[in-house]
Amino acid sequence: MIGTNTLHAVPADIEPSKTLLRVRDLSASFSTPSGEVVSVERVSFDLHRGKTLGIVGESGSGKSVLGRTIMGLTGLSGNATVSGQILFDGVDFTNPDKKLRSEFLGSKIAMIFQDPLSSLNPVKLVGTHVTETLRQHDRSLSRRDAKEQAIGLLDKVRIPDPQRRFGQYPHELSGGMRQRVGIAIALACSPQLLVADEPTTALDVTVQKHVLDLLGAICEEQGMAMILVSHDLGVVAGRSDEVMVMYAGRIQEKAPASEFFVRQYHPYAYGLLASKPMLDSPAHAELLSITGRPPDPTDRFPGCRFAPRCQNARAICREQEPLLEPVSDAAPEHKAACFFPIDGLAVRTTVDNSQEGAP
């Protein structure tokens, strides 16, 4: 029903050249034996070409499902329902059929998975993974040309000695190298959008930085847009243009990265940042923690999802759902879904001062 009709209904004020991905009211739910699990709820955002969007949230916040839904992978499991709209470059990609999906995946949208060892087929050569992708989208490509291109790609993701690596199996490579192979596969057909689902979670901290830097450099080189999903604020900081905080399937705060790391309006977003130790915080300062745990995803209580854990919650928070709206007129791009937004910057400053003032 959302097919071609809505295509014409796209408002004319949106420049098609600028917005690559347009997500409106996207929800994804799974029917499980213990009830309906709504993993993503009414998520809307735009992603411009060449920009990076960081999605942060704790486990179970729906960030990975959001990434997979954008890839059209959620529909693969029979018990999932996806509603809302995903427009990729003007094409409705909400519930893609087989043909559309196989045409788009790899060539226009590509994904990097969390665990490179589990995403690669253990009995296939590293090179075969890459050539397979190349030949999937260009049937006329000869084996030799594909091999040449694949070695070029492995070289591009800075895998030393790509000739030799081409003929090795995934288990013969280190974790970082494997993730580079994953990146090479994703890059094979120069996609316009890269969805990186916790690309560095399975890696060492030292390797993490290399892989993230590589991703950033390649995105910049190719003018590729990226959705960087992570539970680690440090991964997203400095590598994204915009940050989105998810909690229990909803977007709680959305802001340009430069803005977000200075000032948070949503108590949850503030709590996330305050729980990280800062270099300039006083010694022995106690880290803030958010009490409680995320709500049961099958429990659809009314109001704000964060209300049960929120210190500022009042009656209205448990009755009405706050909308994602700009908090101050000064920064219209900085939105938070909260009735009683706090000013993270101000709170932190007072906390710091009181701690410094204490003997």
């Binding site: 693969l76 196989s102 665990d115 995403s119 999937q136």
Partner: protein
């Protein structure tokens, strides 16, 4: 404070340099003698079984040709019969080799059939799920519920004992375990992203099963299959011993051991010990080989 004195030894005194060898570290020359013995033994048995008709062996089956031969001769006593003769004067060495033909053919063929059936049914059940998986599950559990030997004896009363019928009966015994293994592995592999991606790119179930799942699943089934070969060789020998397997005069290791029944073993222990030793060594070799293969191939999964 004599602190500087305690520190003195740290200030690089005269030390003899640690001899550092820049040669490549020697490869581990520890040869796995046991493994090589097993490989040699199996190789010899297999070759002998294949080329049995070409070998200069004494009579193994037709007792009418051995009327003049001495009977029940222990090994190394009669020229021309290296391992002695049985009650009918048939050459034990020749009978062992012809018995190997049957034991190995039956064991290997049954496992091959079991592998094919197990891989196809197990992988499809694990990947397609739903009603198909339920059907396969009931089938597998039913077969597992019946004790193997009783199932085989029951089958042998219905089917005329021949190499073919025995092979299929044994394949039926081997299948459930292999189906289960294939299904369990498929369930694990299906969770992994390369399967998700193949599906997302429009690969049909047939292609996913054949191209993505089977190579992975077969690898893990391979090492189990060697263990199964040895189990089935023993099962075949048990049937032969019980008289419901391959019938005399065709020799099989099982019915050769059964020749010692009825008090003959006390008098002529070689009738039983020789085939039993051969059976033991063969089963041991298959088991050891399977074990070593598992160790070697499990490295692929080591960092999972």
């Amino acid at each position: 404070m004599p602190q500087h004195e305690t520190r003195r030894p740290l200030a690089a005194p005269k030390t003899t340099p640690i001899p550092v060898s820049f040669e490549k570290p020697r490869k581990n020359f520890h040869v796995d003698l046991l493994l090589w013995f097993c490989i040699l033994w199996l190789g010899a048995i297999v070759l002998a079984a294949i080329f049995a008709p070409l070998l200069p062996l004494a009579e193994a089956q037709d007792a009418s040709k051995t009327l003049m031969e001495p009977t029940n001769q222990p090994p190394f006593t009669v020229p021309g019969h290296p391992l002695g003769t049985n009650g009918l004067g048939l050459d034990i060495f020749a009978r062992l080799i012809y018995g190997a033909r049957i034991s190995l053919t039956v064991g290997v063929a049954a496992v091959a059939i079991g592998m094919a059936v197990g891989a196809m049914l197990g992988t499809s059940a694990g990947y397609l799920r739903g009603a198909w998986e339920a059907v396969i599950g009931v089938l597998t559990n039913t077969l597992l519920a019946v004790p193997a030997l009783i199932l085989l004896i029951a089958l042998s009363t219905v089917l005329r004992p021949s190499v073919v019928s025995l092979t299929f009966s044994l394949a039926l015994v081997a299948s459930p375990g292999l189906i289960r293994l294939a299904r369990a592995n498929t369930l694990a592999f299906t969770q992994r992203e390369f399967i998700t991606v193949a599906r997302a790119l429009g690969a049909k179930p047939g292609r996913v099963i054949l191209r993505e799942l089977l190579p992975n699943v077969l690898l893990s089934m391979m090492s189990l299959s060697f263990v199964y070969i040895s189990v089935l060789i023993v099962a075949e020998a048990s049937l032969g011993f019980l008289g419901v397997g391959i019938r005399q005069p065709t020799p099989s290791w099982g019915n050769m051991i059964a020749e010692g029944l009825g008090g003959k073993m006390e008098q002529y222990p070689h009738l039983v010990f020789i085939p039993a030793t051969v059976l033991f060594l063969t089963v041991f070799s298959f088991n050891l080989l399977g074990e070593r293969m598992r160790k070697r191939w499990d490295k692929r999964e080591v960092s999972l």
